[in-house]
Amino acid sequence: MREEKLEKLLNELADATTEPVHPHLAEDIKHQIPPQLSPHRGGMDTVNIIIDLRINKLTAAAAIIVTMILCASFFGSRSLEGDSIYQDSKLLIKYCLEGIDADRSNVLTAKSRYEYLAKRVKDIVYYGDSIDPKDDNAVLIQWKLSDGKYRVVFGDLREKTVSAEELIKLQARMLQKKAE
């Protein structure tokens, strides 16, 4: 009986505390209805769940990418050799902390390319860890071709075939820039 009286009072309280609503509220909300209501938002629910965990969008994106890399490794489409997962994750986290930086993005792309080529060609060298990522003309990767020339990937991801002399000049320029 006591509980019933309290419940009755709560129901009465609800009826007694109804407030008038701002007359334009409904119209304001209707103006915000998007032109296209899409019931399917590919992948956004996953991102929203992660954002609900109170981490920012960039970190959420990094978490998703790292998970995808780990899944790819697990199912055998990517090698776990040479601690590449660890290096990729490290680069991704650094990339996220520093914000969106196109130069770092190039270095990341070049590293993936290097890992791919390393298994297929000999005499390949990767300079991505030591060069200035903002230097478009820095040599990121080099490897020797069968005709004695060298194939070079630059900081802006351009590719060029150069002679041994030209390669020495490019490397000398890099060393000089580093010394400065």
């Binding site: 006591r2 509980e3 009286k5 309290l6 419940e7 009072l9 709560l10 129901n11 009465e12 309280l13 609800a14 007694a16 505390t17 109804t18 407030e19 609503v21 701002h22 509220l25 409904a26 304001d28 909300i29 209707k30 915000q32 209805i33 998007p34 032109p35 296209q36 209501l37 899409s38 019931p39 399917h40 938002r41 956004m44 629910d45 929203n48 109170r54």
Partner: protein, 186 residues
């Protein structure tokens, strides 16, 4: 507005198809309820208006999650409840404010009885606003927004058993508070 089951089914089907007119209809049906829900949860008038708008914006984004015709009430209140919860998280220093005056329609009670009744309702209103957020939400959803236990549990994103337990705890607290102030056992 009373809404027939048939029209509700049709509304949900049209919402799921991405129909804008259905979205506007949803606003007409629910905007007052969601505003009052926010007020009863302890948000100020201005914040309640903002949170009502936010709730509908979130609803447009999560229309894909609306799967069953019977789940409309639970779905919209769940979104509104989440919007309110996020607001409290972001504004930890904000204090809950109760809805303004109490307006009781004239009945058979004498002047003296009516004053006593109003005082009792006033005390209950203050006690509800002092409840912990989860318990307050349970009381508001079930007793004030008149959602069934199943709908309210879905809106609170908990099992029905957990929701009933919250309600019991809330009623116990309210009873003890009103009784101690009243000197009367409810």
């Amino acid at each position: 507005m009373e809404y027939s089951e048939q029209r509700r089914d049709s509304l949900v089907a049209r919402l799921r198809a991405g129909n804008r007119a259905a979205a506007a209809e949803l606003v007409d049906i629910y905007y007052k309820q969601i505003y009052v829900f926010m007020r009863r949860l302890g948000h100020s008038c201005q914040v309640s208006e903002e949170l009502t708008q936010e709730s509908f914006l979130a609803a447009w984004q999560h229309i894909g999650q609306l799967r069953s015709e019977k789940a409309l009430n639970g779905w919209i209140y769940r979104i509104a409840g989440n919007v309110s919860r996020l607001y409290w998280r972001r504004h930890k220093d904000s204090k809950a404010v109760s809805v303004g005056g109490i307006d009781v329609p004239d009945g058979s009670e004498s002047g003296c009885d009516k004053t006593g009744h109003l005082e009792q309702l006033g005390r209950l209103k203050n006690a509800v606003i002092k409840l912990p957020v989860k318990l307050r939400q349970a009381v508001v959803l079930h007793y004030m927004q008149h959602l069934t236990i199943a709908e309210a549990a879905k809106a609170a994103d908990v099992r029905q058993g957990t929701f009933k337990s919250r309600l019991n705890r809330a009623l116990k607290i309210l009873r003890s508070q009103i009784s101690s102030e009243d000197g009367e056992l409810l």
